[in-house]
Amino acid sequence: MRFAQISSVVLIVSAVAAPVAGQPAYQHLRIIAPAAPGGGWDQTARVMQQVLQSAGIVHTSSVENIPGAAGTIGLARFIGAERGNGDVVMVSGLIMLGAIVTHASPVTLGEVTPIARLTGEYEVIVVPAASPFRSLDDLVRAFRERPESISWGGGSAGGTDQMLAGLVADAVGVPPRRVNYIAFSGGGESMSAILGGQVSAGINGLAEFAPQIEAGTVRVLGISSAERLPGVSAPTLREQGVDVELENWRSLVAPPGITPVDRERLERAVETMVGSAEWRQALERYRWIDRYLAGEEFTRFARAEDQRVRAILTKLGLGPGETPPRTAGVYPVLVLAGLVFWLGAAVLETVRARARAVSPRIDAGPGWKPAALITAGMAIDLALIEQSGFVLASTALFWLTARAFDREHPGRDALFALAVSTGAYLLFVRVLNVTLPAGYIARWF
């Protein structure tokens, strides 16, 4: 750790003292994507990694995925583990604002250091090509008449798609709580429901639907941008009298408590990045819209968005302190009752069988000692992995497991354990690029 500290001090000094052109601003910049590989945040992080490296802004860069609960798990770990760390950034955005509200996250985006907004994507309201709704007017008329009869398919609850449904309802005078929103778990799932006409209308990101729109399998009724977009023939919601504008923006944040010098250095690096030709090309490839906004203006924008998101989610019944409609109430009770019932039945069966002395239970083996040895190995693994590193923790786990099965050759097994753990570490870190805690031993290679 000492080495890392010294090197980062050296880096800061060199970056501030002599920003020589062509000299990378960072030796190594870590980018955290608070989502699983494949999604928008992950793609943003990986594109950044590529651009930063190829444009010479950083020497090397790595992407770490911390998926879960629409980014709030990543956010919590970012705040907890990276405080004051000047060479790490996390991708964030509108969806995280929503998730913080709906999941009652104990941490918020107010705690991190905002750096810049990078890109935006607009939302479209679509219907399948065969739908009776020819225009937004048709849809809105039916929606006003009987709100529940229109089912809106989109992504997960509390996400951008549901926010747009709520905003549209609010704008046309229908209470957002009456929106019959059907949440699907992934882009693919909601798209197939929309294409198959399983729902009345669909809401999704423009980029995801662009191929379908081009192929004519769906019809765009409206797009959530302020102005018409070049290359997209769809009318905006606003020009059709539905006064709603919504953008799924993605941004970058730094950990809380970083020095002003660190912050400025990050902001400069990002500014250089968005100005690079590589970044332009990437934007085009992914159909992202450049929405770069930094400094005080971005901070203000983020704050305003936060208030808007809170307001609409509250109106949708997903806000803080809301008890969601208890639609899910019966099933969990049934399941838990079934669990208790069958546990009882199984125990009863065992007791009866014992009484008849034809126990189905396997006779206890040589017993708990070897199993306890392995359990101890697991406990040591858990205790050591973050502090002392993967190699040491796994060596201990392996060695104790081997002890459980055989008393002979402790020395040879220890060597073997070390070799396997080191090999596995190298395979993952070097070949697959998975970050594992290095700790004491792996630091040397």
Binding site: A157, S192, P211, A328, F405
Partner: protein, 498 residues
């Protein structure tokens, strides 16, 4: 139909040396990640994405497809030899495959798995090439009500996995269902049974559950049961592969497995795990000696292994024709298309036919490569049974912990892995079957969500399940599956006792 000329064009392009090399690299890597617990094809492709950026798209996709198919082959190996399936698709294989390995017939089990995968992969890829567009548009007719029906059919497979005691089997099922409740409810965003622990909001990861229950649980159980005493020595009967009788028993399950797996890959229903369970149920029900299942019946390996490979090909149907990702790997591949500025969607076949047909052709080639790679390896792998247990289980635990940790890089996942391992050991020790718990965990949330979605769309009208024809037909199938054995037992004269 201009499919055949297009396909031969694809073969011409795929059979060039660099493309063959990428295919070989893909299938080798895929087999390797299939063997490692927890590291699936989705993660591998995701990790390789940045590295492949400089490649030409066709080469990259040939490699990805190789990884995808290869992982399906590799998954069965640890299942059969060590009773430690590393992913959901090979859980069923462990039931009879591992019994075969214990009887020294490990090579035969691996061979039937490899050939079954080859047969299924080839037929399913052919079906993909010939019928992809009509299949995809049929799949769109499946809405929440139909998917609910499908999960109900899938639930009936529990009936053949209960083991010796109904109470224990159903306890296991309900345990899985209860664990499936944990986390954010997809439809309302409400957190259930997560006890304020934020890591539990996303629910219990199926991968961690499976590795914990099987790999960690098996290690603990072996230590508890046998400890340091010498186990019975496994004598390997053959290194040559399958006997004549085993061939005869295998070929029908291969074909039936393909027929079950392919459509269920096209219709996303819990990934590749549901087809394997369904195939196992069908084989057991059709068998003249169902009592052999669970004690090393080769049909119980041949069918499911064919089913999981066929479903892997099925997943590509909606991906290539509509741009719909229906599995984790497909979602990553979709991201890969975007990386190259390609648009997977209804127009992909028209705009980039060269890429699509080269990809399809290389799936065929990859399948042949996998067969060539895996058949000779079956004998070699089977010798793993001779490795001392202390080293074997040491390696298993290290790899299991690595797989679980690298999912989210969270120690809490490791805690969960070990806790589930202890649970798995306790279940084994008390004769509670493990497979129903996995079914409950995977199908429970799906079934509940689809049910609620269907009811929400119909504005609370429960009759949708019987008025929509496909959904009604599926529910009838489910009832028939459960009732058939009883009806048959009444109508058919009991067979001879022999």
């Amino acid at each position: 139909m201009d499919t055949l000329p297009a396909l031969s064009q694809g073969f011409a392009s795929a059979l060039t040396l660099p493309h063959l090399a990428w295919a070989l690299a893909g299938v080798t890597l895929g087999t390797a990640v299939g063997v490692l617990p927890g590291i699936g094809p989705a993660l591998t492709v995701a990790l390789l994405l940045p590295a492949t950026f400089t490649l030409e798209p066709t080469s990259a996709f040939i490699m990805f497809a190789g990884i995808y198919y290869g992982a399906m082959y590799g998954g069965s190996t640890t299942s059969i030899l060590l009773n430690t399936p590393g992913e959901t698709a090979s859980i069923v294989t462990a039931i009879d495959g591992h019994m075969m390995a214990r009887q020294g017939r490990g090579a035969a089990a691996l061979t039937t798995a490899a050939i079954g995968s080859f047969v299924a992969g080839t037929i399913a890829t052919l079906a993909l090439a010939l019928f992809a567009p009509p299949l995809a548009s049929f799949a769109l007719r499946f809405g929440p009500a139909e998917y609910f029906g499908l999960t109900v059919v899938a639930f009936t497979t529990v009936s053949v996995l209960l083991g010796s005691s109904i109470a224990r089997g159903l306890f296991s099922l309900f345990l899985g269902l209860a664990l499936g409740l944990v986390g954010i409810d997809q439809l309302t965003g409400e957190a259930r049974l997560s006890f304020g622990i934020s890591q539990l909001l996303d629910g219990i990861d199926v991968v961690i559950f499976v590795i914990g229950l099987f790999a960690v649980g098996e290690t603990l159980f072996q230590a508890w049961r046998h400890g340091r005493s010498e186990m019975e020595v496994v004598t390997l009967h053959d290194f040559t592969g399958m006997s004549r009788d085993e061939w005869k028993r295998s070929w029908k399950p291969w074909l039936r497995g393909t027929a079950i797996g392919f459509p269920l890959g096209v219709l996303p229903c819990g990934g590749s795990v549901v087809p394997t369970f369904l195939s196992y149920m069908v084989e057991k029900r059709l068998s003249r000696e169902p009592e052999r299942f669970g004690h090393g019946a080769i049909e119980g390996v041949a069918g499911p292994e064919a089913a999981n490979n066929a479903s892997a090909a099925g997943v590509l149907v909606p991906l290539l024709t509509l741009g719909l990702p229906s599995s984790a790997t497909a979602a990553i591949m979709l991201a890969a298309f975007q990386q190259y500025g390609l648009q997977p969607g209804p127009l992909l076949f028209a705009s980039r036919p060269d890429l699509v047909w080269t990809l399809v052709a290389s799936l065929f080639i990859g399948n042949v490569m996998l067969l060539v790679l895996n058949l000779p390896l079956a004998g070699v792998w089977a010798r793993v049974m001779l490795v001392p247990r202390r080293l074997l289980f040491g390696v298993i635990l290290v790899l299991a912990s690595l797989g679980a940790y690298s999912l989210n890089r969270s120690v809490l996942d490791l805690v969960m892995l070990y806790a589930i391992g202890i649970l798995g050991c306790a279940m084994r020790a008390n004769d509670v079957p493990l497979a129903p718990a996995v079914i409950g965990l995977i199908l429970g949330p799906m079934s509940e969500q689809q049910f609620r979605r269907a009811v929400a769309i119909s504005e609370g009208d429960l009759s949708v399940f019987v008025t929509r024809p496909i959904s009604a037909a599926l529910l009838v199938v489910a009832v028939a599956v459960l009732a058939a054995p009883r009806i048959l037992a009444r109508w058919m004269p009991p067979r001879g006792e022999a």
